[in-house]
Symmetry: C2
Subunit: 299 residues, 2 copies
């Protein structure tokens, strides 16, 4: 364990912080952390024994590998034009945010121009998996960057998967979330209507699980929809964003995807009603009778 | 095996015929079969050694238990007003078609008025399962009727399930199919967009299966969508009908279900384009670039 590369983090929200904890537990040095929300960075640095960076160039200077877990396209652009590439030669940037696939290509070009490497590492899992090191990681970029990142990726996830060129993993991730979100919206409708008909929802979920209605989201979100337990693992706002990314890709391909569009509309309604911070299972608040006061009836 | 009740069938399409074969294999006497499409009934009667009934009252006279597997509400109404209840006292009618829940209540009332019993036995499986006796059966009606039917149901399915009063099983079935159809439509969109983006679909299906995008229809329909193998197990026309039943239930409850509505629209488009006879997986013909010529682009 002597040749481990030093790590720094940009973006230590719930995902990023748990990934940092996991790597620290696995023997890595988390040399610096940075977050636009400074108190979060301070707390985590104290916990993990690293420093809080207040400038992006300090982050890059402090480590060999910089892991970025920011919120969206805008944040990605802003860190990579805002100092993160200062003194970046020889460094590896691993980018874990779910962003538009084209952003990953743009980041790779900028990194390569500075003599740095970049890898997109899209995560199709959530906070618990981040802490336990069981993330499902889909990677895109140069094969060489993937190989260099592997000792780190293997501590974060069970079997990191190389998908292809930069942006390809983000495409796959967008498709995963698009389908997952639609299945979630459909499940909420099924349980909502079942509830309105006076059916026992525990029975109904069991029948779903034994028939063609079964799905991953039935396992992860079904009981929460029934119990209105919408503590956030993957927010409705993120669901709206991710379905939106997929719909943009579809538009560019002149494809009409009515289910994805209907799903995005539902998650947009949640955001508009101030429910964007609920877990994606909160979409059931739109489809159960007597729930979701003030959410409006849609169209 | 001496006290087995004699059985007759009304409706021997692919499902009904295979159920009859299975019961014959299991030691039951299939005394008579009836179908509006007479040649189908003649062939099956010859195969199973029963008689072809040309009148509904003959079906009822020939057996203790009459299993009906007809296509829709109209067909159910027409057989139960068209002679099937003549001499029905003491007989048991097991009704397996997917029809509007209210029809099952109506059938039960008519049967009870004649001193007969009725049971709805909704099937959430397909032709192969019918032949093998592994149907997933959801039953609604009087408990007594369920108990009487059990020796037969146990040969048709693995663990027949008593759901509740007449119509309740049909409600659950409608919900199962509504969610299944929406998941199918969403999967077709995910694979269609993946294909347009040049992603390897075998890889994409594997990623789906390991992430939140996993579902029953991914297992049953994913590969078929990729290979355009739409040999019919559960037709697009049936999918349109079943989602329609669920949407009517929702309307009566003043619930707005946009995913179910978008799904029905897609299956309606298939029917309008003359593709209603394809398997439900054929919905991928609407979402893959370069497929489905003449299907129109939707809206």
């Amino acid at each position: 364990m002597t040749n481990l590369e030093k790590i720094a983090f940009v973006g230590v929200g719930r995902m990023g912080a748990n990934m940092a904890r996991r790597l620290k537990d696995s023997g890595f040095t988390v040399a610096a952390v940075y977050d636009v929300h400074t108190p979060a960075a301070q707390e985590l640095a104290q916990e993990l024994g690293g420093t809080v960076a207040t400038e992006l160039k300090t982050v890059t200077a402090s480590a060999d590998v910089i892991i970025t877990v920011v919120t969206d396209d805008r944040a990605m652009k802003s860190i990579f034009t805002g100092g993160l590439l200062t003194g970046a030669k020889g460094k590896l940037f691993i980018n874990c945010a779910t962003v538009t696939p084209a952003i990953h290509e743009w980041v790779q070009q900028r990194c390569q121009a500075k003599g740095a490497q970049s890898l997109e590492a899209c995560m199709a899992s959530s906070i618990t998996q981040a802490r336990q090191g069981t993330l499902y990681l889909m990677c895109g970029g140069e094969r060489e960057a993937f190989d260099r990142a592997l000792p780190i990726l293997e501590k974060l996830g069970t079997s990191p998967r190389y998908i292809g060129a930069a942006g390809k993993a983000a495409q796959v991730k967008a498709l995963v979330n698009m389908v997952m979100n639609a299945n979630t919206a459909a499940l909420a409708e099924g349980l909502g209507l079942g509830d309105a008909l006076g059916l026992d929802l525990t029975m109904l979920r069991e029948v779903f699980s034994q028939t063609g209605a079964r799905s991953g989201v039935l396992q992860t979100d079904g009981e929460d929809m029934q119990n209105r337990d919408h503590a956030c693992f993957f927010s409705a706002a993120h669901a709206a964003k991710d379905s939106g990314i997929a719909l943009k890709l579809a538009k560019a391909q002149h494809l009409n995807l009515p289910l994805a569009a209907a799903t995005k509309k539902q998650y947009d309604r949640m955001v508009q009603a101030g429910l964007g911070g609920l877990d994606k299972s909160g979409i059931a608040e739109l489809t159960f009778k007597g729930r979701g006061k003030g959410v409006g009836t849609g169209n």
